[in-house]
């Protein structure tokens, strides 16, 4: 049976509860539902990457982030996410796959991305979600810019080599 794949790239927020319902509605064959939600942090993650001094502000505190601006490549963003979902569906016996990725200005705490998958057994849907997130991070055309205070021009987030390395385990 063909895997039910659904992808949305949108400015609007999403409700993880509604997304869960979408994965479960009249789905009686899949006993496992796995989901991942990514949210906007209120600080720059640079400190976590081994450059603690780079992410400290003048008072010695960590750099705060009030807004995350997400740029995307319209058209390619949707097709890249669909392609990643198809690759996951080719590797694991999945029932449904749902990916939502937002763009535009997002406030700290807001949802950025949702990945959900259903399967007969839990390991398949868990692995599929991790696989999709790993490939999304390094292959889908989205770019993050962190903005601290109003009027701040913002700083583009640098790609991490650890994200590229994460693909090797697949």
């Amino acid at each position: 049976m063909a895997v039910d794949i659904s992808v949305s790239v949108q400015a609007e927020g999403f409700d993880p509860g509604v997304e869960y319902s979408r994965l479960r509605n009249e789905n009686y064959s899949d006993g496992a539902t796995s989901m991942f939600v990514g949210n906007v942090r209120d600080f720059s993650p640079t400190a976590l990457l081994g450059f603690p001094e780079a992410s400290l502000d003048e008072t010695g505190g960590r750099q705060s982030v009030t807004v995350l601006e997400l740029e995307h490549y319209p058209g390619m963003a949707e097709s890249a996410l669909t392609d990643i979902a198809r690759q996951a569906a080719a590797r694991w016996p999945l029932g449904r796959v749902r990916i939502v990725h937002r763009y535009g200005p997002l406030n700290a705490g807001e949802e950025i991305v949702f990945v959900g998958a259903t399967s007969t057994h839990r390991q398949d849907s868990l692995d599929a979600c991790a696989f999709i997130m790993d490939f999304l991070k390094s292959r889908a055309p989205f770019w993050k810019k962190e903005v601290g205070e109003p009027g701040d021009l913002g700083t583009w987030v640098e790609a991490r080599s650890s994200d590229e390395k994460a693909l090797k385990k697949w």
Partner: protein, 82 residues
């Protein structure tokens, strides 16, 4: 014509999100990149970034890929979504 797009920090450096360029004489992404770099010091500097990635007709590609009239070529820094 070839449609060229720029995203994120590259778009800001070049202060434009794209342009159209005559396809005549351009047979690879590398040639297109060199042609664009001739437009001035800012272009030379921005396009010499070794980390730059390229998408050909909305699929990730490589600098040695062949291009032809009607193609859409996008240049951008490594992606950071998710």
């Amino acid at each position: 014509m070839i449609k060229v797009l720029f995203f994120a920090s590259l778009r800001e450096q070049l202060q434009r999100d794209g342009l159209e360029i005559e396809a005549a004489g351009l047979t690879s992404v590398t040639q297109l990149r060199s042609k664009l770099a001739e437009q001035g010091a800012t272009w030379q500097s921005a396009l010499s970034n070794e980390q730059l990635q390229v998408a050909l007709n909305q699929k990730l590609s490589t600098m040695d890929a062949a291009i032809q009239d009607g193609d859409e070529v996008a240049f951008f820094p490594p992606v950071t979504g998710g």
